[in-house]
């Protein structure tokens, strides 16, 4: 029987590695870089890290629900473009608080539109959703270009009060940035939504098996509307955090966010097959990606090679996910 016992230990080590691979990787990355490059732990660098965390994590948190529900959303780049240019110009027109609210509403509306297109076409597979939302992304991006005439807007062009956005972009409470506090609050809310609400459960069931879920009376169409609307809303939040930080909004500001968000979600361990996943995992995924690019920067690795590393990690994450099954 000792054979079995030993096998059991080996297996639990393997299980541990699978579940906590990410934590191990992050720890290794931090320790390794700190040894080779002491600047890594400097206050400046850590603040810089926290700031980078902002926009991507917002988008990735929303994306987590779409992927958990068994779908995917490539339109977040387009939504970010549109929300950013419209919101910044609205500050001048309607004032900052209405601008903020309208900006978020546009993000949510774009997401809801995605779900409406998907549901009305009946294209309920992940692959179909991929192409549908890719198409919608170009639509939103084009609208952003049309609206802005292709030009970039700056905070200094606005002569009305923009203190709210300046606070989001650079404000601090003690040593902690306001955008980080926003992130913590949203994370807590979304985590509650994911784990404690019936809608959160419905999303997981839909992602796990749409047909089975529908046959026990789960409103899968509603779940699809919810995940896309939420994802659009969070892309809107990401857009606002992003342009507030860099104080300008170009109509191409969102480029690349869709791939990075999906990367973060999948690397975090939310399965592309739908069903299993968590916003907490996504936080780890984002952390890993940002830390990695920061470390590679500090170590002087070529940016081209960094792109290769990102791609490799995505492939590896999907590979690992499939090996688990």
């Amino acid at each position: 029987m000792s054979g079995i016992a030993k096998e059991g230990t080996l297996r639990s080590v393997a299980d541990f590695m699978r579940s906590y691979l990410l934590v191990v990787l992050i720890a290794a990355l931090v320790i390794g870089t700190a040894i080779f490059e002491p600047r890594f732990l400097s206050g400046m660098n850590l603040i810089n890290l926290m700031r980078q965390f902002g926009p991507l994590i917002m988008v990735a948190l929303g994306m987590t629900f779409v992927i958990m529900g068994g779908f995917i959303d490539l339109s977040v780049a387009g939504i970010i473009n549109l929300v950013a240019v419209v919101t910044i110009s609205l500050i001048q027109i309607v004032g900052q608080v209405p601008a903020l609210i309208l900006g978020l509403a546009i993000g949510a509306a774009c997401g809801a539109l995605n779900s409406a297109v998907i549901l009305s076409s009946g294209a309920l597979t992940q692959a179909e959703a991929l192409f549908m939302t890719f198409g919608m992304s170009t639509v939103y991006s084009a609208l952003a270009l049309l609206y802005s005439h292709g030009s970039t807007m700056h905070f200094w062009d606005i002569n009305k009060s923009k203190s709210l956005f300046q606070a989001i972009g650079a404000g601090k409470v003690g040593p902690v940035s306001i955008s980080f506090l926003i992130f913590l609050a949203l994370l807590a809310l979304l985590w509650l939504f994911q784990t404690k609400t019936t809608e959160g459960r419905a999303i997981r069931l839909t992602g796990g098996n749409k047909i089975a879920a529908e046959l026990v009376g789960i409103r899968i169409r509603r779940s699809i509307v919810v995940i896309y609307t939420l994802c659009g809303l969070m892309a809107g939040v990401g857009a606002i955090v992003l342009f507030s930080r860099i104080t300008t909004a170009a109509p191409v500001i969102g480029a690349g966010f869709e791939t990075n968000a999906i990367l973060a979600v999948v690397v975090g361990g939310t399965t592309l097959k739908g069903g299993n996943g968590s916003v907490l995992r996504t936080v780890m995924g984002v952390l890993l990606i940002i830390l990695m690019s920061n470390c590679l920067n500090l170590l002087g690795v070529s940016p081209y090679l960094q792109v290769v590393a990102k791609g490799a990690i995505l492939v590896f994450a999907i590979w690992l996910d499939n090996r688990k099954q």
Partner: protein, 500 residues
Amino acid sequence: MSASSDSELIISIRDVSKTFPGVRALDKVSIDVRKGSVHGIVGENGAGKSTLMKILSGVYQKDSGTIVFDGEQIEGTTPQQSMKRGLAIIYQELNLVSTMSVGENIFLGRFKEMKGMRGSHAKARELLDSIDCKVDTHKLVSQLSVSLKQMVEIAKALSFKSKLIIMDEPSSSLTAEEMAELTKIIRQLREQGISIIYISHKLDEIFEFCDTVTVMRDGHAIDTRPTLEFTRNDMITKMVGRAIENEYPPRPAKVGGTLMEVRSITTRKLKDVSFTLREGEILGFVGLVGAGRTEIVRAVFGADKARGHSVFIGGKRVPIRNPRDAKRAGFGLIPEDRKLQGLILPFSVETNISMASMDNFSRFGFIRRSLEKGIGERQVKALSVKTPSVRVPVGNLSGGNQQKCIVGRWLEIAPKIFIMDEPTKGIDVGAKYEIYLLMKRIAEDGGAIILISSELPEVLNMSNRVLTIFEGRITGEFDPAVTAVDRIMASALGMKEVPA
């Protein structure tokens, strides 16, 4: 066990063990198969039959033990290597490329060796002729019936000059005639000196053509003997580990007044279907696969769109637009395909059981975990689901236990009308009986059941009343207790003149 020298054996399995997380799937299993014999393997789902076969073919690796195939010890093999070595396996869910032709499927990946497509088709023709199969080698596999696909698989196995062919539940979706055809081919293969391992739940087949039988239970090879030395009861007792008196419990006794009335469902496949269901009754639907049995219940349940469809419960019209409405109106459904439509395989037993009754353990849209935990535990206990805990993925359980989880999911909300579409498909004898008892209990508690089954004895023995369905219409209504089977079958086959 009769001693036979090693040279007479095509395969010798010695003390093979395999453990999966939490399950000892095989425990020191030893089986010898003689050359040129048909060796049956029977056992309940979860007995380890499929695991053993997957080890033989190289899909899984054994943890310990030895396997000698045709005088050669096998270690760390892959399915491709096994094929080349002469060990072919034909799975229940056939492994063909449906968008390619018959000939292409047989020589998939070997076109070069066959000197191109023309050679492949010619050789395929030859192989198919050798088993009396007339199908055109240029036909797409997607256009073939299940039995023809099986023939293609057999031809493919022959193309590798297989010495041993393993058939995993080959009969589960065959008609009686197709089965007779398969029986003929199996005998023919045996005459050619090819050995066959035949896995099945159906004892009739085992007794018909197997030379030797191994009974497996809980990962052990319980007994191996010449078929003639077994009696039917003997075999069932060994399979389930206890004696089973009857295959079916008596029908529910107290049938009350009308519970539900369905008026004129019409869909693309159904023509003006109307019927009633009474309290405490089991109503059986009899018909060929594709006759529209499943379509009727799906339309009633709101899973498919239907025109001019009205369901009356207790005399009142209930609008059912989707499964959610159906659930609210007191319906429960065990869908036809357990894995595709019933379960979320990677999710826990608990989540799979609780998913229909979310309203019972939530308030204001928030889940109350303490209540949910009780649900999983309660149903697992009530239905004696065999599982190490409610937290393991439901996909790890055997077929019968998976089905119990689906039943339990609905029992939690106590539906008045329970629709069961092939509730015992792919489930072993012992678990079947338990499901039958459950059905009886549901009916006797005042519920009603619509039962669809392709196993005629099951519908006839369980139902108080059966409706025959042919080409989307109801063609007859019978009391199975007093009606001859051939009259019911004739009606299900759409014959006007019903033999007396």
